[in-house]
């Protein structure tokens, strides 16, 4: 009587067992890399915009500041895509017959919006707020990358929750002095380029309570330090609400920080700033409602 299975079946049966194990592992590895791939995250993809607006040209080439166009970045959840009028501020006189700018002129003439393609599109259940990040020491480049080097804007980071949390679990690695928020080329302090910071004694909801300088305040003298404080002391709120009793002289006298601390690494500076800015640590991020409302 012939056997049900022939000799090769043993090897086949065992191989298939081992193989299914491998397939399961390979599937896991594949899915794991797939969920983080640009195919899912659109990281690095440059969509075709109606107007090929070059941040590189306008920021690096012309020296426009971020806020010139993104006016609401400091005071609202959204940085703000500028209205056509902002383009026309210059392009009413410059490159007025360039073919590239035809959609802009069209929009200006008709009042219809230009339909930009959104590059940094978070899911609608995420409530990301630009205001708090910008005011608590996160630079534009930390999330958006070197926009000043992007001819066409693309997503530098995955924008996945993992990426959010990687920073929120250790904010220190990305925090910078308030004056450097819009500095695209900012790099954390190092041995060669230390940073000195001090508390201004002013408490408040934003990062303005810390003054930082990149030159040694002791060497430059008290006056320079004082000026540096002033330079960083950017107004965020309606000046009407300021303390009216404060006069120029009194501010200058009181705002000179008593003692600067020198930082030679990003982690040190970040930890210091976390404390000064009252930034929550990983353990305190208990509420999902911080980001999902």
């Amino acid at each position: 009587m012939a056997q049900v299975f022939d000799r090769s079946s043993n090897a086949l049966a065992r191989a298939s067992l081992v193989l299914s194990g491998f397939i399961v592992i390979a599937l896991g590895v594949t899915l794991n890399s797939l969920q983080r791939s640009p195919w899912v995250t659109r990281q690095g993809q440059r969509p075709d915009q109606p107007v090929p607006f070059s941040h590189m040209h306008h920021v690096q080439g012309l020296g426009l500041q971020c806020q010139y166009c993104h006016t609401s970045v400091e005071k609202s959840m959204y940085a703000g895509i500028p209205p056509t009028k902002t383009c026309m501020n210059c392009h009413s006189q410059i490159w007025t017959d360039a073919q590239l700018l035809e959609p802009v002129r069209q929009s200006w003439a008709t009042g219809a919006s230009i339909r930009w393609i959104r590059v940094h599109d978070l899911p609608d259940f995420v409530y990301f707020n630009h205001e708090i990040h910008v005011n608590k020491g996160i630079g534009c480049a930390s999330c958006h990358g070197r926009v000043d080097e992007m001819p066409l804007v693309y997503e530098q980071n995955t924008l996945q929750m993992e990426w959010c949390l990687n920073c929120h679990r250790n904010p220190a690695k990305n925090l910078r002095p308030a004056a450097e928020i819009y500095n695209m080329a900012w790099q954390g302090p190092s041995q060669q380029k230390p940073v000195w910071c001090a508390s201004t004694g002013v408490d408040g909801p934003t990062a303005q309570q810390v003054a930082c300088v990149t030159t040694d305040p002791a060497a430059a003298g008290l006056q320079l330090a004082g000026l540096s404080v002033q330079q960083n002391n950017v107004l965020q709120n309606n000046p009407m609400e300021l303390d009216r009793s404060q006069t120029l002289s009194s501010v200058a006298a009181s705002a000179v920080p008593a003692n600067y601390v020198k930082f030679t690494s990003q982690q040190e500076l970040g930890l210091y700033l976390m404390k000064q800015y009252h930034i929550r640590t990983a353990n305190e991020l208990a509420s999902c409602e911080t980001c999902h409302r």
Binding site: Q3, S8, N283
Partner: protein, 180 residues
């Protein structure tokens, strides 16, 4: 592995476990070592006659259990203390009473799976082709109501004639030559 040819062994068929145990003891006494008995249900005395006692299955189970316990405990500790620390109801991050349950389940899972797969691996299963299935009476009875003793050809004592004589002394139902 190239297919082996020739005689695999001599297969004696018995009606009762007693006869099988008797024959096994006889063959063992005669110096045969490469042999195996086949029964439709576990017969402890048959294993005894083969002088086969210890299995390594409990060891595999223990190792699997330890691996599971370690995996489960480390997973929980890593996740709740380092990987994903959350301050919930002011419970400590290292909340060992709560960690007991999943670590325990992991222990059971790992040891259970390793027991089953360890048993199969130690038994060399799956082995859907086996020379014994070439013997027609084997397939008919080994998993139902017959008891078999197979003296294998690779035993140094094995001799087609002498071994058959030995087996026939035990009054088997039949003695069959099994081909590879």
């Amino acid at each position: 592995m190239p297919p082996r040819e020739g005689v695999y062994g001599l297969l004696a068929e018995f009606n009762t476990p007693d006869e099988l145990v008797h024959a096994t003891k006889l063959a063992h006494g005669a110096g045969y070592r490469r042999m195996e008995s086949y029964t439709p249900y576990p017969v402890e005395e048959a294993a005894e006659a083969l002088h086969f006692h210890k299995t390594r299955v409990p060891l595999v189970c223990l190792l699997g259990g330890l691996a599971g316990l370690t995996t489960g405990a480390l997973l929980e500790i890593w996740i709740n203390v380092w990987g994903y620390p959350l301050n919930l109801r002011a419970m400590p991050l290292f909340s060992w009473p709560a960690f007991v349950v999943p670590a325990y389940e992991c222990t059971i899972l790992f040891s259970g799976l390793s027991t089953c797969f360890g048993m199969l691996a130690l038994n060399g299963l799956p082995q859907v082709y086996h020379p014994l299935f070439n013997a027609p009476n084997f397939a008919d009875g080994a998993t139902s109501d017959k008891f078999f003793l197979c003296l294998e050809a690779n035993d140094p004592q094995f001799d087609l004639v002498e071994t058959r004589k030995l087996l026939e002394r035990c009054s088997p139902v039949s003695v069959v030559e099994v081909q590879h």
